[in-house]
Structure formats: C-alpha cells, structure tokens
Amino acid sequence: MSDLTDKDLLAAEFVLGTLDDSERQQVHRQRQQDGELEQLIQAWEARLAPLGDEVKSIAPGPHLLARIERRIDAVEARAALQHSDDRVTRLRRRLTLWRGMAGVSSAAALILAALLVGAPTSSPDQSQFVAVFQQDDQQPAFMLSVNLEQRRLHVMPVTAKPMEDRSYQLWIKEASLGPTPQSVGVLDDDLSIDQSALQQYSPELLKRATFGISVEPSGGSPTGQPTGPAIHGYLYPTQAPGNQRL
C-alpha cells in the first residue's frame, strides 16, 4: 500500500466527492494557487474517470438547450457591456483632454460622451463604425455611424430633439487637424447632416478622431469654435476585433 500525503488525500477525497461544503470551497480556492494540489487533483480525476462509464446516459428535456442558449446570450450581453464600460472609461480620459484643448469651459455644461458597442454580430463589417453621444450617462442623445470605406456618415438623433433658435453642430478633432476642433457641419432642422461631410478626411484619421456635437446659436457657431455645451463621441468598430467572450 502506497503512502499518501495529506494533500494527496485531500485531492482524492475532493475528486471522490466526499468532502463537505466548506472543505470543497477551500479546495476550489486553493487549487487556483497551489500547482501541486492541482496536479494531484488531475491525477485523481484521471484515475477515477473510468467509473463514469457506469453512468447511464439520460436525455434532458427538449427545451434545455434553448434555456442554456438564452443564458449564454445574457452572459455575452454582459460581456459586451463590460467591454463598452472599459471603453467609456478610456473615452472619458480622452474627453478630458479634448475638453481642455477645445476650451469648452463649463464642466457642468460639458456632457460626457459615452460609447456603446453593439452586441457582437456573426458577420462583422470592418468598415462600419459607430459613436454614441450620450448625455449624463443617461439615454444616448445621438448616434453617429460612419462607413469608413465610403466615408459616409449618418447622424441619428436618439433622445435629442430639435430646439427652437438653436442648432446642433458636429465637430471633429484630431491631432493632425490642429489643436482646435474643426466643424464638420451644422445639423439640419430634422437633425440630419450631409452624408458626405467627412469626404475630406482619411479613414485612418477618422478612426483616431474624437467627435463632438455642441449646441450653438441657430445656423451654427459664430466663432468657428464650439461655444455651447458639447457632447462627444469616438468611433468604434461595430464589431470589436478579437474574442469578446468572458
């Protein structure tokens, strides 16, 4: 009879299943850090695995897969949200910079832009980018979608409403364009904008750029710079590269 260390016995009983709840939780924690314990557990799993052949297969209910798939949908949605939260954090840092440089003053008036990424799609369009202009972390005010290949842009008001005697103006800011934002154009009364307004910018520049939408006197900023409260967005691909799963 071979002699077993306490750790080996712990691993053995863990795999056998006879440990009580607190002992099992302890092993679950310990095996994360203790390589030796992990190895011992794996060895016992391999030793006892053939016992599993004795288990009769029993088909689960027909609806179980659909329930599991819904759970996975929820898990993926949370992962995408977490992903976009990370981006919002990065975006906020970028905005602080933008704000300082743009000279748009009042912190109270200046509204944080947030960025949401659509749920991962099975057929990513690598040329489609979107920015969400979000007010006070509430509902998005505007969404901006840009097709980089065709350099076509589309502004979609979400909660933003046309205002009497005021215009919304879209700005672009990028290092190579100088220290101040450049006007892309003033939104029409129905809050749309000329689809070709970004034609002069390269896709690479557009990917790096920060966008802002400010509230201006009717017809647009009289100074050529944002004068009113602005909200900002930054383009992200509609499908992030890489693995989005947890």
């Binding site: 009879m1 071979s2 002699d3 299943g17 709840d21 799993e45 052949d53 329930r67 799963r245």
Partner: protein, 198 residues
C-alpha cells in the same frame, strides 16, 4: 449503450474517418472561438451523458436541469481551458458536471429527498451496472483494483463517486461513525492508487 458511451470506448478503433473523439475536440475548438452552432452540436452529442451524471447525484430532474444549465454556460466560457493532453473532451465536461452537482448537493443537501430509499436503490444496482462496463483498458484496470478492495470499501467509493454520497450518507448506510468511514475511505484510496500504479 448510448452514443456518448460508444464515443468513449472508441479510442482504439482505427479509422480513416474522423473519430467521434476528434469530432468533439473539433467542436470544442469551434466553441472556443464563439461558434454557437458548434456549441449546439456539442450539446447534442454530450448532454445525455452529462445529464445522466448529474441526475444520478441529485435525483431530481428540476435540480439537474438547473445544474446542467450552469455546466454548459461554464463550458461555453471555459472552452479554452480544455487541455487535450489531459484527457477526453467528454471526460473534461463530465468532471465539470460532477463538480457542479456535488458542490450544489453539499451546499444545499435539503434538496435531496430525506427518504433513504433512493440510497438503497442505488446501492442495490451497483453490482449489475458494474458488470456492464465498457471493455476499455483503463476501465478494466480500475475495475480490477476496485475488486481487490474489501467489498464495503469498493461500494463506498462507487456510491461516493457516482451517487454523490457524503461521508455522513455512507456512515448512516453502513452503520458506522463518520470518522470510521473517513478512515476506510482513505485506506481505500491509498490502496487504489497503489494498485493502479503497478
């Protein structure tokens, strides 16, 4: 004999076609990349085995349903952790399922029927089930080593592993103090390890 069990015993069959084991490896690799279709296929190929494993431990289909859902979500999330060197896909998945079922059972034993009759039933079916085992080499080896154990101890090992019995369940069934059961289990495990290493 089920589809999944055939998969497991198919290791030695030489074939030009993709073996069922290889198919599971391929499916899991696709699942790792987020392929939902592959996930559904993997589920179809493995869920009866996993459900059987979990249900035998929990003895309650609703409870087993819940645990199996967690198990497959875990498999979806941790597909990248599978290491082919360590064993089969179905073995890896069954381990996740067993651990989830036993964790749940230990956490909330009240779920399980207090009536002991299922325990008696499980114990009574052991021998016959054991005789129908696959003719797999490692299976045979473990089977021989279990036979070398004192009968009570080999029963304890099987009841613990397959039916999720705790030390207390075993103690009450075999009419022994829990500490005695623990000692017996330790001796049985030592003996098994020694036997399997020869």
């Amino acid at each position: 004999m089920t589809h999944v069990q055939r998969l497991e015993s198919d290791t030695s069959a030489p074939s030009d076609a993709q073996s069922p084991q290889d198919r599971l490896v391929m499916l899991l690799a696709r699942v790792e990349k987020g392929d939902r279709e592959a996930f559904a296929e993997l589920y179809q190929a493995t869920s009866a085995k996993l459900f059987g494993t979990v249900l035998r431990i929990l003895k309650d289909t609703t409870w087993a349903d819940d645990v199996i859902q967690d198990v497959y979500v875990t498999i979806w999330q941790k597909a990248d952790r599978f290491d082919r060197q360590r064993g089969s896909v179905i073995g890896w998945m069954a381990t996740i399922a067993r651990n989830a079922a036993i964790d749940d059972l230990r956490r909330a034993p009240r779920h399980q029927s207090e009536d002991d009759s299922h325990l008696e039933h499980a114990a009574a079916t052991q021998a016959s089930a054991f005789e129908q085992r696959d003719q797999d080499e490692s299976s045979d080896r473990l089977s021989q080593c279990l036979e070398e154990l004192e009968e009570t101890r080999s029963q304890m090992v099987r009841l613990a592993y397959l039916d999720g019995w705790s030390r207390a369940d075993l103690a009450s069934h075999f009419g022994q103090p829990v500490n005695t059961v623990k000692t017996w289990l330790h001796r049985a495990l030592k003996q098994l390890k020694g036997c399997l290493s020869t």
